[in-house]
Symmetry: C2
Subunit: 481 residues, 2 copies
Amino acid sequence: MGDTWATLGVDLHLETGGDGSRHGVRKGLTDALREAVRGGRLAPGTRLPSSRSLAADLGIARNTVADAYADLVAEGWLTARQGSGTRVAMGVPPGRAEPRARGRVVSPPVRPAPPRRTGGAPTYNLTPGSPDLASFPRAEWLKAARRALAAAPNSALGYADPRGRVELRTALAGYLARARGVHADPDRIVVTAGFVHALAVIGRVLRARGEREVTVESYGLDIHWNLLHRAGLRTVPLAFDALGTDVSGLGPGSAKAVLLTPAHQFPMGVPLHPDRRAAAVDWARREGGVIIEDDYDGEFRYDRQPVGALQGLDPEHVIYLGTASKSLAPGLRLGWMVLPSGLHAEVLAEKEAAGASCGALDQLTLAEFITSGAYDRHVRGARLRYRRRRDHLVEAVAGRAPDVRATGIAAGLHAVLQLPPGTERSIVQAANWERLAVQGLSGFRHPLAVTPREDALVVGYGTPAEHAWAGAVEALCRVLP
Amino acid sequence: MGDTWATLGVDLHLETGGDGSRHGVRKGLTDALREAVRGGRLAPGTRLPSSRSLAADLGIARNTVADAYADLVAEGWLTARQGSGTRVAMGVPPGRAEPRARGRVVSPPVRPAPPRRTGGAPTYNLTPGSPDLASFPRAEWLKAARRALAAAPNSALGYADPRGRVELRTALAGYLARARGVHADPDRIVVTAGFVHALAVIGRVLRARGEREVTVESYGLDIHWNLLHRAGLRTVPLAFDALGTDVSGLGPGSAKAVLLTPAHQFPMGVPLHPDRRAAAVDWARREGGVIIEDDYDGEFRYDRQPVGALQGLDPEHVIYLGTASKSLAPGLRLGWMVLPSGLHAEVLAEKEAAGASCGALDQLTLAEFITSGAYDRHVRGARLRYRRRRDHLVEAVAGRAPDVRATGIAAGLHAVLQLPPGTERSIVQAANWERLAVQGLSGFRHPLAVTPREDALVVGYGTPAEHAWAGAVEALCRVLP
């Protein structure tokens, strides 16, 4: 190994010579190691030297080497095993990542589940559900964390209020009232570890009330339906038509709870028609039902002011669910519920029974991020970037694929591309061969949906990093008819 | 209000003049407002000026005022209500806090539940379960957060691996093997939102396997027993004697799972006898049982090296549960499980069904905190401070209350003070009158325990801030016979 490492060491040394900063050295080392693996100079299974000895060879800090190893483990190039050290991952295909994508990780399409792979990771990722992670405001977030930690009382570090920190609930109440028209008293807000945590808790509360099913939309995410199934609830879909989800299916005989995405149906991309918004609320009042409002991307409307939250129409019959996963990053695992008074105690008890609550420091940081105005600034900036991407996507598709039509309103982080009948499956397959991860509409259709099938792609234009955007759209256009 | 605020403004101005730093101004403002409420100059219900206008009055940054308000809301002096602004809390008793405690919050005894109050918050808090929150390494933590965020790949901000970040699982595997003798492969570790999250998930897995009860210890925390009950499991206690928990109660007929605190029984403070450690593992092997090891304070042993984790004896029959709640702070909501291979898949599935996972940034920060050595440094420092406190407590009690005997080993964050028979209840009551929060052993006794009752106090010497320690011990000695 000695020689190998001597050589590699020299290469590294040359590559990392440019920028003396710790971060620069780390990046140079990470890139050099990644290249060595990609190029085959480090064979799969090869055991790497300990961070201590490599650091000594290279005359750099041990933590820098450890950080570089951790990056590459996180990216899948290396594996770390207690007892057997750090090794080159088995089965890393050469040319797995584009040189242009070096130092970047193609963010895995975790929500919803990734398409079946044709081997290796995709080069481009247009699956919906994720914002552009590369544009997460790291510096601003860290500043907010510093201010929040400096201002935090010691009690903030102690055992937590199950509702979440009062600072965050107070900040959210102000923001949601201002930006989404939500009637939000801090005492009615419960902070959760993202949307799925909130939905899991609500599902268990409904089951504990004796409910056996929940009404859902014809199109949505199977992970949400599965979460409800795990809570012991069947999901029964409403029909879908040109005016959005058809709530006339809600009646005396239907389930007592309905899960809706009123502002921007996921994934179809249309808002719930105003008459139907009113009809849904009327149903809830008449039948003592509850509407679970998934406001996952309400911040992102590009043609005009976003339509307000349904919750504003009747806070006592709507559970409002919001999340930082689209506006900031899913990795924060921060979401919030605004609860009707009649559900507050039960939801809190169920949340406590599940034992999970969010770290206080992230909560205080988000509170500071919101109250300092950084949140609004970030959302405005993201809105501009995403709008440009959407316009670019729609233009490119219109120019290159006349038979393909983008539908849905100009909003959110994804677009629906209507395809010629019978072509969806082959196009998704062709995209995967092009190492482009993209999903067909059929993957978002409820198994019991009666709505006529359509062939379409659900394109997440938020997902790629800025540098990968143009290539992703180009790859998409190549596979469209 | 104008005059009031002019006056208050001047006072504030004088008070905050000493230190120009933002933090100094914030603290000065917070103290001045707290004084104004305590002294009655601001009556309960009084609406405070908006942070904007007060900031203008005082010529300071608006955020500084907002931070000060948030502090006082968190401390309970003020209330913030959407629509009605910030007001002085109703029923704030004058003299609620000692001047010496000014700017500090008496951390609420949340685990376990607080003793019945005689009105107002306690001045001193010796309830067990919390480390000294004032000694949380804020600066070091922030440094680690900065390094972790700089090194984090973008994918770390995306949807999460349900096991937790690989960086943290790798760091924990190394630390637990080194410091606790745990057999820990990063792939067998699952990061949780603290101990209760882990226990709730495990309880549901056991219930899903058809189990109906879990064996526990005669003494422990009712919140843990209740968590298991909520999962549909009865809890049946083992006997307790001079050698610790009597595991001879484990047999073919007993429940398939047992919850133990082998390193330092909570709250009795004795380690599980070596023969009984072996016997428990033998039982698990013989009957196909599983031991749930609650290693809540394994880092803190003062007389000699801590006894290793039971998990090291048989990783396939022990679920090891650790937490950062005692070594760092409960507010982080970070814990970890090390799982037998046979339980890994079920536990992950159950955790995902509950929808909750931890924020990636806190996980990456803790990983960096551990790998950089800051964790070991902090634990060593805390060990010294707690040891001094324990010694001081034992000496003070020996000198002032000859009839009271401290039992249990020199370890952890709490001591057990054996009281003359029949005196526990009256002493706890007397302590509450002295505004000293302390708990009797009876509050930790399982309802079905058959072990002879003892009168004792469970004194958490980790809980008070350094400045409050001497006063807390003095108050305690005043109420001992």
